[in-house]
Protein backbone atom coordinates (compact mmCIF):
# COMPACT_ATOMS: atom_id res chain seq x y z
CA UNK A 1 0.00 0.00 0.00
CA UNK A 2 1.25 3.49 -0.85
CA UNK A 3 1.88 5.86 2.02
CA UNK A 4 -0.19 8.65 0.46
CA UNK A 5 -3.17 6.36 0.22
CA UNK A 6 -2.87 5.45 3.90
CA UNK A 7 -2.82 9.08 4.98
CA UNK A 8 -5.81 9.78 2.75
CA UNK A 9 -7.79 7.03 4.46
CA UNK A 10 -6.80 8.32 7.87
CA UNK A 11 -7.70 11.89 7.00
CA UNK A 12 -11.13 10.73 5.92
CA UNK A 13 -11.53 9.03 9.29
CA UNK A 14 -10.07 12.09 11.06
CA UNK A 15 -7.27 10.06 12.52
CA UNK A 16 -3.58 10.72 12.86
CA UNK A 17 -1.13 8.03 11.83
CA UNK A 18 0.85 5.85 14.20
CA UNK A 19 4.17 4.98 12.62
CA UNK A 20 5.86 2.27 14.67
CA UNK A 21 9.58 1.56 14.46
CA UNK A 22 11.40 -1.55 15.49
CA UNK A 23 14.76 -2.86 14.40
CA UNK A 24 14.61 -5.90 12.13
CA UNK A 25 16.30 -8.94 13.64
CA UNK A 26 16.11 -7.68 17.23
CA UNK A 27 16.76 -10.15 18.67
CA UNK A 28 16.00 -12.58 15.80
CA UNK A 29 14.32 -12.35 12.38
CA UNK A 30 11.55 -14.70 13.52
CA UNK A 31 10.80 -12.53 16.56
CA UNK A 32 10.55 -9.44 14.37
CA UNK A 33 7.79 -11.00 12.29
CA UNK A 34 5.81 -11.70 15.45
CA UNK A 35 6.43 -8.24 16.84
CA UNK A 36 5.25 -6.59 13.64
CA UNK A 37 1.97 -8.46 13.84
CA UNK A 38 1.56 -7.34 17.45
CA UNK A 39 2.11 -3.70 16.45
CA UNK A 40 -0.41 -4.02 13.64
CA UNK A 41 -2.95 -5.61 16.00
CA UNK A 42 -2.45 -2.70 18.37
CA UNK A 43 -3.28 -0.26 15.59
CA UNK A 44 -0.04 0.80 13.89
CA UNK A 45 -0.80 2.44 10.54
CA UNK A 46 2.68 2.26 9.07
CA UNK A 47 5.59 0.05 10.09
CA UNK A 48 9.08 1.48 9.95
CA UNK A 49 11.50 -1.43 9.99
CA UNK A 50 15.10 -0.63 10.77
CA UNK A 51 17.81 -2.35 8.76
CA UNK A 52 20.70 -2.42 11.24
CA UNK A 53 23.96 -0.63 10.46
CA UNK A 54 27.15 -0.95 12.51
CA UNK A 55 27.57 2.81 13.08
CA UNK A 56 24.17 4.44 13.66
CA UNK A 57 25.10 8.08 14.36
CA UNK A 58 21.53 9.40 14.51
CA UNK A 59 20.39 6.91 17.13
CA UNK A 60 20.45 7.11 20.90
CA UNK A 61 21.44 4.34 23.31
CA UNK A 62 18.11 2.44 23.19
CA UNK A 63 18.05 1.92 19.44
CA UNK A 64 21.82 1.46 19.28
CA UNK A 65 21.39 -1.48 21.64
CA UNK A 66 18.57 -2.87 19.50
CA UNK A 67 20.74 -2.59 16.41
CA UNK A 68 23.56 -4.37 18.19
CA UNK A 69 21.24 -7.22 19.22
CA UNK A 70 20.05 -7.52 15.62
CA UNK A 71 23.59 -7.61 14.23
CA UNK A 72 24.59 -10.15 16.85
CA UNK A 73 21.54 -12.17 15.81
CA UNK A 74 22.92 -12.28 12.27
CA UNK A 75 20.66 -9.81 10.48
CA UNK A 76 21.86 -8.86 6.98
CA UNK A 77 20.22 -6.99 4.09
CA UNK A 78 19.66 -10.31 2.28
CA UNK A 79 17.83 -11.81 5.25
CA UNK A 80 16.00 -8.51 5.75
CA UNK A 81 14.44 -8.44 2.30
CA UNK A 82 13.56 -12.12 2.46
CA UNK A 83 11.86 -11.60 5.81
CA UNK A 84 10.02 -8.47 4.68
CA UNK A 85 8.83 -10.29 1.55
CA UNK A 86 7.26 -12.95 3.73
CA UNK A 87 5.29 -10.45 5.83
CA UNK A 88 1.77 -10.19 4.51
CA UNK A 89 0.82 -6.71 5.62
CA UNK A 90 -2.04 -4.56 4.42
CA UNK A 91 -0.39 -1.35 5.58
CA UNK A 92 2.65 0.52 4.25
CA UNK A 93 6.07 -0.64 5.30
CA UNK A 94 9.14 1.60 5.15
CA UNK A 95 12.80 0.81 5.65
CA UNK A 96 14.95 2.98 7.88
CA UNK A 97 18.67 2.52 7.39
CA UNK A 98 21.96 4.33 6.97
CA UNK A 99 23.31 5.25 3.57
CA UNK A 100 26.31 2.94 3.43
CA UNK A 101 24.15 -0.19 3.36
CA UNK A 102 22.18 1.23 0.43
CA UNK A 103 25.32 2.46 -1.30
CA UNK A 104 27.07 -0.89 -0.94
CA UNK A 105 24.13 -2.88 -2.26
CA UNK A 106 23.76 -0.49 -5.16
CA UNK A 107 21.08 2.22 -5.12
CA UNK A 108 19.16 0.69 -7.99
CA UNK A 109 19.22 -2.81 -6.54
CA UNK A 110 18.25 -1.56 -3.09
CA UNK A 111 15.24 0.32 -4.45
CA UNK A 112 14.28 -2.67 -6.56
CA UNK A 113 14.56 -5.03 -3.58
CA UNK A 114 12.34 -2.68 -1.58
CA UNK A 115 9.70 -2.71 -4.28
CA UNK A 116 9.92 -6.47 -4.81
CA UNK A 117 9.46 -7.16 -1.10
CA UNK A 118 6.44 -4.88 -0.90
CA UNK A 119 7.93 -1.85 0.79
CA UNK A 120 6.65 1.66 0.16
CA UNK A 121 9.35 4.00 1.38
CA UNK A 122 12.93 4.60 2.50
CA UNK A 123 14.19 6.79 5.35
CA UNK A 124 17.93 7.52 5.47
CA UNK A 125 18.91 9.67 8.45
CA UNK A 126 22.41 10.42 7.16
CA UNK A 127 21.36 11.43 3.65
CA UNK A 128 20.42 15.11 3.34
CA UNK A 129 18.79 16.27 0.09
CA UNK A 130 22.13 17.65 -1.15
CA UNK A 131 23.45 14.09 -1.50
CA UNK A 132 20.28 12.28 -2.49
CA UNK A 133 19.79 12.89 -6.24
CA UNK A 134 20.88 9.42 -7.28
CA UNK A 135 18.83 7.58 -4.68
CA UNK A 136 15.84 9.78 -5.50
CA UNK A 137 16.06 8.68 -9.12
CA UNK A 138 16.35 5.01 -8.19
CA UNK A 139 13.32 5.38 -5.90
CA UNK A 140 11.21 7.09 -8.57
CA UNK A 141 11.97 4.33 -11.04
CA UNK A 142 10.76 1.75 -8.56
CA UNK A 143 7.76 3.62 -7.14
CA UNK A 144 9.34 3.97 -3.72
CA UNK A 145 8.92 7.11 -1.61
CA UNK A 146 12.16 8.68 -0.40
CA UNK A 147 11.20 10.26 2.90
CA UNK A 148 13.12 13.33 4.04
CA UNK A 149 13.72 14.63 7.52
CA UNK A 150 13.24 18.21 8.66
CA UNK A 151 15.03 19.37 11.82
CA UNK A 152 14.46 22.34 14.12
CA UNK A 153 17.56 23.86 12.49
CA UNK A 154 16.21 23.52 8.93
CA UNK A 155 15.28 26.84 7.36
CA UNK A 156 14.93 28.84 4.16
CA UNK A 157 15.82 27.39 0.81
CA UNK A 158 16.82 24.06 2.30
CA UNK A 159 13.37 23.70 3.87
CA UNK A 160 11.70 24.51 0.55
CA UNK A 161 13.77 21.95 -1.28
CA UNK A 162 12.89 19.23 1.23
CA UNK A 163 9.19 20.05 1.05
CA UNK A 164 9.25 19.97 -2.74
CA UNK A 165 11.24 16.74 -3.01
CA UNK A 166 9.94 14.84 0.01
CA UNK A 167 7.64 11.94 -0.78
CA UNK A 168 5.31 9.86 1.39
CA UNK A 169 5.52 12.00 4.48
CA UNK A 170 7.83 14.62 5.92
CA UNK A 171 9.67 13.33 8.98
CA UNK A 172 9.82 16.13 11.52
CA UNK A 173 12.65 15.71 14.03
CA UNK A 174 11.05 17.00 17.23
CA UNK A 175 14.22 18.21 18.88
CA UNK A 176 17.98 18.54 18.52
CA UNK A 177 19.58 15.24 19.39
CA UNK A 178 19.36 11.55 18.72
CA UNK A 179 16.45 9.11 18.95
CA UNK A 180 15.22 8.11 22.37
CA UNK A 181 12.14 8.29 24.59
CA UNK A 182 11.81 11.52 26.59
CA UNK A 183 9.36 12.49 29.28
CA UNK A 184 9.26 16.04 27.91
CA UNK A 185 8.66 16.84 24.28
CA UNK A 186 10.15 20.16 23.27
CA UNK A 187 7.93 23.23 23.17
CA UNK A 188 9.63 24.11 19.93
CA UNK A 189 7.97 21.09 18.30
CA UNK A 190 4.70 22.95 17.92
CA UNK A 191 6.53 25.81 16.30
CA UNK A 192 8.27 23.39 13.93
CA UNK A 193 5.02 21.68 12.93
CA UNK A 194 3.53 25.05 12.08
CA UNK A 195 6.63 26.21 10.26
CA UNK A 196 6.53 23.24 7.88
CA UNK A 197 3.96 24.31 5.32
CA UNK A 198 3.14 21.53 2.91
CA UNK A 199 0.34 19.30 1.66
CA UNK A 200 2.54 16.25 2.21
CA UNK A 201 1.63 14.61 5.53
CA UNK A 202 3.81 15.59 8.49
CA UNK A 203 4.87 12.98 11.03
CA UNK A 204 6.76 13.89 14.19
CA UNK A 205 9.40 11.65 15.74
CA UNK A 206 12.26 11.66 18.28
CA UNK A 207 11.20 11.45 21.91
CA UNK A 208 7.53 10.43 21.78
CA UNK A 209 6.73 7.50 24.02
CA UNK A 210 3.14 7.69 25.27
CA UNK A 211 -0.43 8.37 24.20
CA UNK A 212 -0.58 11.79 25.82
CA UNK A 213 2.47 13.07 23.95
CA UNK A 214 1.12 11.55 20.74
CA UNK A 215 -2.23 13.33 21.20
CA UNK A 216 -0.44 16.59 21.78
CA UNK A 217 1.43 16.30 18.47
CA UNK A 218 -1.82 15.79 16.58
CA UNK A 219 -3.41 18.74 18.38
CA UNK A 220 -0.42 20.83 17.35
CA UNK A 221 -1.06 20.01 13.72
CA UNK A 222 0.90 16.85 12.93
CA UNK A 223 -0.62 14.17 10.70
CA UNK A 224 1.17 11.37 12.49
CA UNK A 225 3.68 10.37 15.12
CA UNK A 226 6.71 8.12 14.85
CA UNK A 227 7.57 6.04 17.88
CA UNK A 228 10.62 3.82 18.11
CA UNK A 229 12.65 3.76 21.29
CA UNK A 230 9.61 3.05 23.49
CA UNK A 231 8.92 -0.13 21.48
CA UNK A 232 12.58 -1.10 21.39
CA UNK A 233 12.72 -0.70 25.18
CA UNK A 234 9.96 -3.28 25.51
CA UNK A 235 11.83 -5.68 23.23
CA UNK A 236 15.01 -5.13 25.26
CA UNK A 237 13.21 -6.08 28.50
CA UNK A 238 12.25 -9.47 27.05
CA UNK A 239 9.17 -9.56 29.32
CA UNK A 240 5.67 -10.09 27.89
CA UNK A 241 6.93 -8.44 24.74
CA UNK A 242 4.00 -9.28 22.45
CA UNK A 243 1.34 -8.10 24.91
CA UNK A 244 3.16 -4.91 25.81
CA UNK A 245 3.98 -3.96 22.20
CA UNK A 246 0.32 -4.35 21.31
CA UNK A 247 -0.82 -2.41 24.38
CA UNK A 248 1.54 0.50 23.77
CA UNK A 249 0.55 0.63 20.09
CA UNK A 250 -3.09 0.74 21.20
CA UNK A 251 -2.41 3.56 23.68
CA UNK A 252 -0.55 5.59 21.06
CA UNK A 253 -3.23 4.96 18.44
CA UNK A 254 -5.87 6.18 20.90
CA UNK A 255 -3.79 9.30 21.30
CA UNK A 256 -3.66 10.09 17.60
CA UNK A 257 -7.39 9.70 17.03
CA UNK A 258 -8.69 13.25 16.90
Amino acid sequence: MRIAEKFKQLRAKKEGALIAYICAGDPTPEATKEYVTALVRGGADIIELGLPFSDPVADGPTIQAGIQRALDGGMTPDIYFKMVGSLRLHIPLVVMTYYNLIFKRGLEKFAKDCAASGMSGIIVPDLPPEESDELQQACKKNDIDLIYLVAPTTTGSRMNRILVEGKGFIYLVARLGVTGARSDVAVSTRELIQRVKTDTPKAVGFGISNGKQAARMIEDGADGVIVGSAFVDIIASGKDVMERLEALARELKEGVRR
Binding site: V57, N100, K104, V173, L176
Partner: protein, 394 residues
Protein backbone atom coordinates in the same frame (compact mmCIF):
# COMPACT_ATOMS: atom_id res chain seq x y z
CA UNK B 1 32.71 36.63 -6.33
CA UNK B 2 34.70 34.49 -3.93
CA UNK B 3 35.38 30.97 -5.01
CA UNK B 4 33.38 28.53 -2.94
CA UNK B 5 35.16 25.82 -1.01
CA UNK B 6 35.05 22.53 -2.85
CA UNK B 7 32.85 19.96 -1.09
CA UNK B 8 34.04 16.99 -3.15
CA UNK B 9 37.38 15.51 -4.14
CA UNK B 10 36.43 13.71 -7.32
CA UNK B 11 33.64 11.40 -6.19
CA UNK B 12 34.77 11.47 -2.56
CA UNK B 13 33.86 13.76 0.31
CA UNK B 14 30.42 15.35 0.58
CA UNK B 15 28.12 15.80 3.56
CA UNK B 16 26.39 12.58 4.63
CA UNK B 17 25.07 13.76 7.98
CA UNK B 18 21.75 14.06 9.79
CA UNK B 19 19.63 16.99 8.63
CA UNK B 20 20.10 18.72 12.00
CA UNK B 21 23.78 19.30 11.21
CA UNK B 22 23.47 20.65 7.69
CA UNK B 23 22.98 24.29 8.72
CA UNK B 24 25.96 24.03 11.08
CA UNK B 25 28.16 22.73 8.26
CA UNK B 26 26.91 25.55 6.07
CA UNK B 27 27.76 28.07 8.78
CA UNK B 28 31.19 26.52 9.37
CA UNK B 29 31.94 26.61 5.64
CA UNK B 30 30.98 30.27 5.42
CA UNK B 31 32.87 31.29 8.51
CA UNK B 32 35.99 29.38 7.57
CA UNK B 33 35.89 30.89 4.13
CA UNK B 34 35.65 34.30 5.75
CA UNK B 35 38.52 33.88 8.21
CA UNK B 36 40.99 31.67 6.40
CA UNK B 37 42.65 34.57 4.60
CA UNK B 38 41.83 37.17 7.24
CA UNK B 39 45.06 38.91 8.33
CA UNK B 40 43.98 39.34 11.96
CA UNK B 41 42.94 35.70 12.29
CA UNK B 42 46.16 34.49 10.70
CA UNK B 43 48.36 36.78 12.73
CA UNK B 44 46.82 35.43 15.93
CA UNK B 45 47.10 31.82 14.73
CA UNK B 46 50.73 32.29 13.71
CA UNK B 47 51.51 33.79 17.09
CA UNK B 48 50.18 30.69 18.84
CA UNK B 49 51.88 28.35 16.38
CA UNK B 50 55.21 30.04 17.04
CA UNK B 51 55.18 30.99 20.72
CA UNK B 52 52.87 28.31 22.10
CA UNK B 53 53.38 25.31 19.83
CA UNK B 54 57.07 25.97 19.14
CA UNK B 55 56.95 26.15 15.34
CA UNK B 56 58.65 25.87 12.96
CA UNK B 57 59.61 22.31 13.79
CA UNK B 58 63.11 21.34 12.61
CA UNK B 59 63.89 19.36 9.49
CA UNK B 60 66.66 17.13 10.71
CA UNK B 61 69.21 15.26 8.63
CA UNK B 62 69.27 11.78 10.18
CA UNK B 63 72.87 10.89 9.27
CA UNK B 64 73.21 7.57 11.03
CA UNK B 65 69.81 6.30 9.90
CA UNK B 66 70.64 7.42 6.35
CA UNK B 67 73.82 5.38 6.48
CA UNK B 68 72.02 2.38 7.90
CA UNK B 69 69.17 2.44 5.35
CA UNK B 70 71.27 3.55 2.37
CA UNK B 71 69.34 6.66 1.36
CA UNK B 72 69.60 10.29 2.45
CA UNK B 73 66.88 10.85 5.04
CA UNK B 74 65.50 14.02 6.59
CA UNK B 75 63.05 13.84 9.47
CA UNK B 76 60.33 16.45 9.84
CA UNK B 77 60.27 16.78 13.61
CA UNK B 78 56.56 17.16 14.45
CA UNK B 79 57.40 15.13 17.55
CA UNK B 80 58.92 18.36 18.89
CA UNK B 81 55.70 20.34 18.62
CA UNK B 82 54.12 21.14 22.00
CA UNK B 83 52.20 18.11 23.18
CA UNK B 84 54.42 15.78 21.21
CA UNK B 85 52.56 15.56 17.91
CA UNK B 86 51.35 17.48 14.88
CA UNK B 87 47.81 17.45 16.27
CA UNK B 88 48.18 20.87 17.90
CA UNK B 89 48.48 22.62 14.50
CA UNK B 90 44.87 21.75 13.77
CA UNK B 91 43.43 22.22 17.26
CA UNK B 92 44.90 25.72 17.58
CA UNK B 93 43.43 26.63 14.21
CA UNK B 94 39.98 25.22 14.87
CA UNK B 95 39.74 26.43 18.47
CA UNK B 96 40.61 29.91 17.33
CA UNK B 97 38.05 29.61 14.55
CA UNK B 98 35.44 28.47 17.09
CA UNK B 99 36.22 31.52 19.20
CA UNK B 100 35.83 33.82 16.20
CA UNK B 101 32.51 32.07 15.49
CA UNK B 102 31.33 32.71 19.04
CA UNK B 103 31.04 29.05 20.06
CA UNK B 104 31.12 28.43 23.80
CA UNK B 105 32.11 24.80 23.88
CA UNK B 106 34.39 22.42 22.02
CA UNK B 107 33.83 18.70 21.69
CA UNK B 108 36.23 16.25 20.14
CA UNK B 109 36.88 12.57 19.64
CA UNK B 110 40.18 10.92 20.36
CA UNK B 111 41.67 7.50 19.74
CA UNK B 112 45.12 7.34 21.28
CA UNK B 113 44.51 10.57 23.13
CA UNK B 114 46.90 12.72 21.11
CA UNK B 115 44.18 14.77 19.45
CA UNK B 116 42.29 14.96 22.74
CA UNK B 117 45.41 16.20 24.48
CA UNK B 118 45.97 18.82 21.79
CA UNK B 119 42.33 19.92 22.18
CA UNK B 120 42.81 20.19 25.93
CA UNK B 121 45.88 22.37 25.35
CA UNK B 122 44.13 24.67 22.90
CA UNK B 123 41.02 24.77 25.04
CA UNK B 124 43.03 25.82 28.09
CA UNK B 125 45.11 28.34 26.12
CA UNK B 126 42.00 30.00 24.67
CA UNK B 127 39.79 29.47 27.72
CA UNK B 128 37.10 27.45 25.96
CA UNK B 129 35.34 24.57 27.68
CA UNK B 130 36.50 21.32 26.08
CA UNK B 131 35.00 17.84 26.32
CA UNK B 132 36.59 14.82 24.71
CA UNK B 133 34.92 11.54 23.76
CA UNK B 134 37.19 8.53 24.06
CA UNK B 135 36.51 4.82 23.71
CA UNK B 136 36.45 3.13 27.11
CA UNK B 137 38.95 0.56 25.82
CA UNK B 138 41.27 3.30 24.58
CA UNK B 139 41.02 5.05 27.96
CA UNK B 140 42.50 2.00 29.60
CA UNK B 141 45.21 1.65 26.93
CA UNK B 142 46.13 5.33 27.10
CA UNK B 143 45.44 6.29 30.68
CA UNK B 144 48.32 8.78 30.88
CA UNK B 145 46.77 10.82 28.08
CA UNK B 146 43.44 10.75 29.90
CA UNK B 147 45.16 12.19 32.93
CA UNK B 148 46.94 14.82 30.83
CA UNK B 149 43.64 16.00 29.39
CA UNK B 150 42.08 16.18 32.83
CA UNK B 151 45.05 18.12 34.20
CA UNK B 152 44.43 20.77 31.56
CA UNK B 153 40.81 21.10 32.52
CA UNK B 154 39.12 18.98 29.88
CA UNK B 155 36.44 16.47 30.61
CA UNK B 156 37.00 13.01 29.15
CA UNK B 157 33.80 11.13 28.44
CA UNK B 158 34.07 7.33 28.15
CA UNK B 159 32.32 5.77 25.14
CA UNK B 160 31.02 2.29 25.86
CA UNK B 161 29.22 1.55 22.60
CA UNK B 162 30.46 -0.66 19.76
CA UNK B 163 34.13 -1.55 19.81
CA UNK B 164 34.81 1.24 22.37
CA UNK B 165 37.52 2.75 20.18
CA UNK B 166 38.01 5.74 17.87
CA UNK B 167 35.18 4.96 15.44
CA UNK B 168 32.70 4.83 18.31
CA UNK B 169 34.10 7.99 19.85
CA UNK B 170 33.42 9.78 16.55
CA UNK B 171 29.85 8.41 16.50
CA UNK B 172 29.29 9.67 20.03
CA UNK B 173 30.82 13.09 19.37
CA UNK B 174 28.53 13.45 16.34
CA UNK B 175 25.54 12.56 18.52
CA UNK B 176 26.57 15.23 21.01
CA UNK B 177 26.99 17.74 18.20
CA UNK B 178 23.51 16.93 16.88
CA UNK B 179 22.09 17.79 20.30
CA UNK B 180 24.17 20.91 20.99
CA UNK B 181 24.93 22.23 17.55
CA UNK B 182 23.94 25.81 18.33
CA UNK B 183 26.55 26.41 21.03
CA UNK B 184 29.18 23.80 20.28
CA UNK B 185 31.97 23.36 17.75
CA UNK B 186 32.94 19.81 16.89
CA UNK B 187 36.71 19.80 16.55
CA UNK B 188 37.46 16.87 14.27
CA UNK B 189 41.03 15.69 14.64
CA UNK B 190 41.81 14.42 11.17
CA UNK B 191 41.11 15.12 7.51
CA UNK B 192 37.87 13.14 7.80
CA UNK B 193 34.18 13.77 8.34
CA UNK B 194 31.74 15.86 6.32
CA UNK B 195 32.78 18.87 4.25
CA UNK B 196 34.30 21.33 5.19
CA UNK B 197 36.30 19.40 7.83
CA UNK B 198 38.67 17.56 5.47
CA UNK B 199 39.60 20.89 3.89
CA UNK B 200 39.89 22.81 7.16
CA UNK B 201 42.10 20.21 8.83
CA UNK B 202 44.26 19.86 5.73
CA UNK B 203 44.77 23.62 5.56
CA UNK B 204 45.71 23.93 9.22
CA UNK B 205 48.10 20.99 8.92
CA UNK B 206 49.67 22.28 5.70
CA UNK B 207 52.03 24.35 7.81
CA UNK B 208 54.10 21.14 7.98
CA UNK B 209 54.63 20.89 4.24
CA UNK B 210 55.09 24.64 3.79
CA UNK B 211 57.95 24.57 6.27
CA UNK B 212 59.50 21.53 4.60
CA UNK B 213 59.54 23.36 1.25
CA UNK B 214 61.63 26.16 2.67
CA UNK B 215 63.79 24.01 4.90
CA UNK B 216 64.77 21.46 2.26
CA UNK B 217 65.60 24.20 -0.26
CA UNK B 218 67.82 25.81 2.33
CA UNK B 219 69.61 22.58 3.15
CA UNK B 220 69.67 20.76 -0.17
CA UNK B 221 68.87 23.36 -2.77
CA UNK B 222 66.14 21.11 -4.17
CA UNK B 223 62.95 19.30 -3.31
CA UNK B 224 63.11 15.72 -2.03
CA UNK B 225 62.50 12.82 -4.41
CA UNK B 226 59.91 11.45 -2.04
CA UNK B 227 57.97 12.21 1.13
CA UNK B 228 56.79 9.40 3.36
CA UNK B 229 54.06 9.80 5.97
CA UNK B 230 52.01 7.39 8.03
CA UNK B 231 48.29 7.44 7.30
CA UNK B 232 45.34 6.62 9.53
CA UNK B 233 42.73 9.32 8.96
CA UNK B 234 45.54 11.10 7.18
CA UNK B 235 46.06 14.52 8.76
CA UNK B 236 49.85 14.47 9.06
CA UNK B 237 50.06 12.99 5.56
CA UNK B 238 47.81 15.63 3.97
CA UNK B 239 49.62 18.29 5.96
CA UNK B 240 53.02 17.44 4.54
CA UNK B 241 51.78 16.32 1.07
CA UNK B 242 49.45 19.17 0.18
CA UNK B 243 52.04 21.89 -0.49
CA UNK B 244 53.88 19.46 -2.80
CA UNK B 245 50.89 18.25 -4.82
CA UNK B 246 51.91 20.13 -7.95
CA UNK B 247 55.62 19.32 -7.67
CA UNK B 248 57.66 16.41 -8.95
CA UNK B 249 57.84 14.71 -5.57
CA UNK B 250 56.60 11.17 -4.92
CA UNK B 251 54.21 10.96 -1.99
CA UNK B 252 53.94 7.74 0.00
CA UNK B 253 51.00 7.20 2.36
CA UNK B 254 51.98 4.35 4.67
CA UNK B 255 49.05 2.66 6.37
CA UNK B 256 48.97 0.17 9.21
CA UNK B 257 49.32 -3.37 7.90
CA UNK B 258 48.61 -4.63 11.44
CA UNK B 259 49.26 -8.32 11.83
CA UNK B 260 48.37 -9.09 8.22
CA UNK B 261 46.34 -7.87 5.27
CA UNK B 262 43.38 -10.11 6.03
CA UNK B 263 39.83 -9.54 7.18
CA UNK B 264 36.74 -11.47 8.25
CA UNK B 265 33.23 -10.07 7.83
CA UNK B 266 33.53 -8.41 11.24
CA UNK B 267 37.11 -7.30 11.64
CA UNK B 268 40.28 -6.55 9.74
CA UNK B 269 43.72 -7.48 11.06
CA UNK B 270 44.94 -4.14 9.68
CA UNK B 271 43.84 -0.53 9.19
CA UNK B 272 45.02 -0.13 5.60
CA UNK B 273 41.98 1.58 4.15
CA UNK B 274 43.58 3.04 1.01
CA UNK B 275 45.26 -0.30 0.27
CA UNK B 276 42.32 -2.60 0.97
CA UNK B 277 39.16 -0.51 1.48
CA UNK B 278 36.22 -0.12 -0.85
CA UNK B 279 34.05 2.88 -1.68
CA UNK B 280 31.60 3.64 1.08
CA UNK B 281 30.06 6.29 3.30
CA UNK B 282 31.16 6.67 6.90
CA UNK B 283 31.20 9.56 9.37
CA UNK B 284 29.68 12.01 6.94
CA UNK B 285 31.99 11.39 4.00
CA UNK B 286 32.21 9.20 0.95
CA UNK B 287 35.63 7.61 0.98
CA UNK B 288 37.46 4.29 1.07
CA UNK B 289 36.16 2.23 3.97
CA UNK B 290 36.97 -1.13 5.51
CA UNK B 291 33.63 -2.90 5.28
CA UNK B 292 32.08 -6.28 4.64
CA UNK B 293 30.07 -7.23 1.56
CA UNK B 294 26.91 -5.73 3.06
CA UNK B 295 28.52 -2.41 3.99
CA UNK B 296 28.89 -3.03 7.73
CA UNK B 297 32.01 -1.26 8.97
CA UNK B 298 34.82 -3.55 10.12
CA UNK B 299 36.73 -3.17 13.32
CA UNK B 300 40.24 -2.22 12.29
CA UNK B 301 43.44 -3.13 14.04
CA UNK B 302 46.92 -1.71 14.54
CA UNK B 303 49.64 -1.55 17.14
CA UNK B 304 49.37 2.22 16.69
CA UNK B 305 46.08 3.51 18.09
CA UNK B 306 46.37 6.66 15.98
CA UNK B 307 46.23 4.65 12.76
CA UNK B 308 43.49 2.31 13.96
CA UNK B 309 40.58 3.60 11.86
CA UNK B 310 38.33 1.97 9.25
CA UNK B 311 38.07 5.11 7.10
CA UNK B 312 40.48 7.60 5.57
CA UNK B 313 40.34 11.22 4.45
CA UNK B 314 38.37 11.63 1.20
CA UNK B 315 41.08 13.72 -0.45
CA UNK B 316 43.58 10.91 0.12
CA UNK B 317 41.16 8.43 -1.45
CA UNK B 318 40.91 10.75 -4.45
CA UNK B 319 44.66 11.31 -4.73
CA UNK B 320 45.20 7.55 -4.54
CA UNK B 321 42.65 6.93 -7.31
CA UNK B 322 44.31 9.39 -9.68
CA UNK B 323 47.75 8.00 -8.85
CA UNK B 324 49.11 11.14 -7.21
CA UNK B 325 49.90 9.42 -3.91
CA UNK B 326 51.11 5.90 -3.44
CA UNK B 327 49.31 3.91 -0.73
CA UNK B 328 51.57 1.42 1.01
CA UNK B 329 51.58 -0.35 4.35
CA UNK B 330 53.89 -1.55 7.10
CA UNK B 331 53.09 -4.36 9.50
CA UNK B 332 53.08 -4.01 13.30
CA UNK B 333 56.35 -5.94 13.53
CA UNK B 334 58.06 -3.80 10.88
CA UNK B 335 56.95 -0.63 12.65
CA UNK B 336 58.37 -1.93 15.93
CA UNK B 337 61.73 -2.66 14.27
CA UNK B 338 61.84 0.82 12.80
CA UNK B 339 60.86 2.30 16.16
CA UNK B 340 63.94 0.71 17.71
CA UNK B 341 66.15 1.81 14.80
CA UNK B 342 65.23 5.44 15.27
CA UNK B 343 65.76 5.18 19.03
CA UNK B 344 69.23 3.59 18.67
CA UNK B 345 70.61 5.38 15.62
CA UNK B 346 69.27 8.84 16.21
CA UNK B 347 68.28 9.17 19.84
CA UNK B 348 64.72 9.91 18.81
CA UNK B 349 61.80 7.92 20.21
CA UNK B 350 59.09 8.16 17.54
CA UNK B 351 55.40 7.45 17.91
CA UNK B 352 54.43 3.96 16.74
CA UNK B 353 52.29 5.72 14.13
CA UNK B 354 55.29 7.53 12.64
CA UNK B 355 57.35 4.35 12.92
CA UNK B 356 55.22 2.89 10.11
CA UNK B 357 56.62 5.54 7.75
CA UNK B 358 60.18 4.85 8.91
CA UNK B 359 59.57 1.12 8.42
CA UNK B 360 58.49 1.64 4.84
CA UNK B 361 61.69 3.54 4.09
CA UNK B 362 63.70 0.78 5.73
CA UNK B 363 62.21 -1.95 3.57
CA UNK B 364 62.27 -0.09 0.24
CA UNK B 365 65.28 2.24 0.38
CA UNK B 366 67.45 -0.18 -1.59
CA UNK B 367 64.84 -0.72 -4.32
CA UNK B 368 65.28 2.81 -5.66
CA UNK B 369 61.54 3.47 -5.33
CA UNK B 370 62.12 6.40 -3.02
CA UNK B 371 64.93 8.07 -4.98
CA UNK B 372 68.00 9.51 -3.26
CA UNK B 373 66.51 12.14 -0.99
CA UNK B 374 63.65 11.25 1.35
CA UNK B 375 61.68 13.25 3.92
CA UNK B 376 59.88 11.23 6.59
CA UNK B 377 57.22 12.94 8.66
CA UNK B 378 57.84 12.05 12.29
CA UNK B 379 54.30 13.01 13.23
CA UNK B 380 54.70 12.41 16.95
CA UNK B 381 56.92 11.24 19.73
CA UNK B 382 56.75 7.80 21.27
CA UNK B 383 56.63 8.41 25.01
CA UNK B 384 52.95 7.45 24.96
CA UNK B 385 53.84 4.08 23.43
CA UNK B 386 56.47 2.87 25.89
CA UNK B 387 54.08 0.56 27.72
CA UNK B 388 52.99 -1.03 24.44
CA UNK B 389 56.58 -1.50 23.32
CA UNK B 390 57.65 -2.93 26.68
CA UNK B 391 54.72 -5.34 26.48
CA UNK B 392 55.83 -6.51 23.03
CA UNK B 393 59.41 -7.17 24.13
CA UNK B 394 58.35 -9.28 27.11
Amino acid sequence: MKQELRSKFGKYGGQFVPEVLMPALEELTEQYDKYKDDPVFNEELNYYLRDFAGRPSPLYHAKRLSEEYGVKIYLKREDLVHGGAHKLNNTLGQTLLARYMGKKRIIAETGAGQHGTACAMSGAAFGIRTEVYMGARDMVRQRMNVYRMELMGSKVIPVKSGSQTLKDAINEAMRDWVANVETTHYLIGSVVGPHPFPTIVRDFQSVIGKEVRMQIMEKEGRFPDSIVACTGGGSNAMGIFHPFIDDDVDLFAVEAGGSGMKATDKEALHSATLCAGEDGVLHGMRTKVLQNKYGQILESSSIAAGLDYAGVGPELAYLADIGRIKPRNSMDSEALDAFHDLCRFEGIIPALESSHAVAYVKKTANTGELGDLVVINISGRGDKDLETVMGMRK
